[in-house]
């Protein structure tokens, strides 16, 4: 697949002081869902703003759907749909009126417009609420409306900035289904930012983890998980007779061991090869296994390795990021 988004050394400095994005390079293939993952203030939204022409590029270059973002912003705008973080549908207008306004602004006309609006609203289960003012909608309904408002002009790339922010678990999962459907049925390229790890894992073909304005690591979720520790076996012995850390580390295929009394956490990039040797070794030493558990690695583990703190810590400690955002806002 050809690259539909290309970024080379993309950099954004606000007022010569605050470096929000620092020489990042990446590409997105046509038809894929690409996720930008990172904590608050990492540079995700600034990157999306540069790509959708809302922010100027301080250094570097980017193309979207073959259009240079700096030289041909009009061409970029014709090729993209943008679903921002904020809920921007007009409260005083109905769902249908919001859609029709967006159609007029994107020069979408013709006899099929009304049926197109109806179809898109149906796609996100809003047909029954279409005639109601948006101020009567729930948060999830507004997000769904915004999602299809960005599709009326059949863009080649859809930018989603935190598409499920503030939604409950059930509505989030429904939104994922809509996004997956759009990607599959329409071949739509989706560039999304999120700070939900499960969201990135479930939706994205490839992700990039960003922090402090730089890309720390990128690849498919499976690749990243494999590269950052692989599977984990948690082995609990009946008694804490001797330290087996050295023994387990010596087994081929084991990439790391940690011990807490009689509980061992063993990282295995290739579980099939190492697991029998671990079990056999323990039994040969006449030790008894009380419990053995196997878990697949998560993106949280990857995030922890790459960023140095878990996303949950990030979410619970918002004060730093809030100040970071205020600083950035003031710099703008």
């Amino acid at each position: 697949m050809a690259d539909i988004i290309q970024a080379e050394n993309l950099t954004k400095v606000y007022h010569g002081k605050v470096k929000a994005v620092d020489h990042i390079s990446f590409s997105v293939s046509e038809g894929e869902i690409f996720g930008f993952l990172g904590p608050n203030g990492a540079g995700k939204t600034t990157t999306i703003k540069m790509l959708n022409t809302l922010a100027s590029i301080t250094e570097g270059r980017a193309t979207v759907a073959g259009h240079d973002v700096a030289k041909d912003p009009g061409g970029v705008r014709k090729s993209i749909g943008v679903v921002p973080q904020e809920l921007t549908a007009d409260d005083e207008l109905s769902g249908t009126e919001n859609m029709l306004l967006m159609a007029r602004l994107h020069q979408v006309r013709g006899s099929s417009l009304k049926s197109k609006v109806t179809d898109l609203l149906g796609l996100v289960d809003l047909q029954e609420a279409a005639g109601r003012k948006v101020k009567t909608y729930s948060g999830g309904m507004r997000r769904r409306l915004q999602l299809v408002m960005g599709l009326l002009h059949e863009p080649r790339v859809l930018f989603l900035d935190e598409p499920t922010l503030g939604l409950d678990v059930q509505t989030r999962s429904k939104m994922w289904d809509y996004i997956k459907g759009l990607n599959k049925q329409r071949g739509l390229t989706v560039f999304m930012t999120t700070h939900y790890l499960d969201e990135a894992d479930s939706l994205c073909k490839r992700i990039a983890i960003v922090d402090h304005g730089t890309i720390k690591v990128s690849g498919s979720p499976a690749e990243l998980k494999a590269a950052h520790g692989g599977d984990i076996v948690t082995l609990t012995l009946s008694e804490d007779k001797e330290d087996l850390t050295g023994f387990f580390s010596g087994i081929e295929g084991v990439s790391g061991v940690s011990r807490e009394a009689n509980v061992y956490r063993i990282k295995l990039p290739k579980t099939e090869k190492a697991l029998p040797a671990i079990v056999t070794g323990v039994l040969q030493k006449n030790l008894e296994i009380a419990e053995i558990a196997f878990s697949k690695p998560t993106l949280d583990q990857v995030f922890l390795d790459v960023v140095g703190r878990s996303m949950r810590d990030e979410e619970s400690s918002t004060s730093d990021s809030t100040w970071e955002n205020i600083r950035m806002e003031r710099a703008r």
Binding site: L54, V82, P84, T88, D90, E92, R104
Partner: protein, 266 residues
């Protein structure tokens, strides 16, 4: 560009029409100025009718002044909706759509102008029905009414050009309110809105004579008081209209440049 400007203007007007209560505060302001302040004295009783351009009642003199007050204040504060659009992210969603930046600016200009002109017409009608209210000469016809409103439209257009650009430039409602509060009262008081400048001290008279509000009031009052204009009155009228055209054109250019700057990528 016309199509997008129209679509955005209609969006704002649609919301406004659906909430008729939003017209009421403006209409009450007009009513209080005309009925309470306007009835407070009569230039004829004080032998000042000539100084007030020959207006038979003070409300006849004040009606155009009140319409100018509505124009200045509503244009100045009308930008609050645009600041809200920016704060709520709506403006960003417009900026990522393939529409000319000028359409975003012009729709702000025209939506304010359309709202305020409706209020101006209602004020004119209300003034006609007040006791000792607006007394039009027998010769006053539709053409004169249009002539009066051409002056108001040009003043409103100039004000809307600059205040819309200001609203796109500032980032918070507090900043906008602080700036327009600083500007609006001097604009009104340094003009012939309430009293003829002939009684002003020289420094105030000099400022009032170049104030576009004075020009709009002067042009409108010539028609409101006299109906058919003499040659010299017609000359004054057209000279005022020319001044207002230049005012609107200059502020249009300055406003466009300021708006273009305000709508640049951040």
């Amino acid at each position: 560009m016309l199509r997008e400007t129209l679509a955005l203007t209609m969006r704002a007007l649609q919301k406004w029409v659906r909430n008729p209560a939003s017209v009421m505060p403006g209409l009450f302001t007009s009513l209080f100025y005309l009925a309470l302040f306007g009835s407070s004295f009569n230039p004829g009783n004080l032998g000042l009718q000539e100084a007030f351009g020959g207006a038979p009642t003070y409300i006849t003199y004040l009606t155009s002044g009140v319409i100018c007050i509505i124009l200045v204040f509503n244009m100045a504060f009308g930008g609050i909706d645009l600041v809200l659009d920016r704060q709520l992210g709506y403006l960003s969603s417009l900026l990522t759509a393939p529409i000319p930046r000028a359409a975003i600016y012009l729709s702000g200009v025209f939506q304010n102008l359309a709202k305020v002109l409706l209020l101006a017409v209602l004020t004119f009608i209300v003034a006609l029905f007040l006791p000792s209210g607006l007394k039009l000469p027998g010769s006053f016809g539709v053409v004169d009414f249009v002539g009066v409103f051409i002056a108001f439209i040009l003043l409103g257009l100039g004000l809307s050009f600059i205040f819309t650009a200001l609203a796109l430039t500032v980032r918070s409602i507090d900043s906008l309110v602080a700036i327009v509060n600083f500007l609006t009262l001097p604009i009104m008081f340094m003009s012939n809105t309430f009293f003829p400048p002939s009684s002003f001290p020289d420094w105030l008279k000099t400022i009032a004579n170049v104030n576009p509000v004075t020009k709009a009031n002067e042009a409108a009052r010539l028609l409101i008081v006299n109906g058919s204009l003499s040659a010299s009155q017609a000359s004054t009228y057209w000279s005022d209209i020319g001044y207002l055209v230049a005012f609107a054109a200059i502020l249009g250019l300055l406003g466009y440049l300021a708006a273009r700057r305000a709508l640049r990528p951040e």
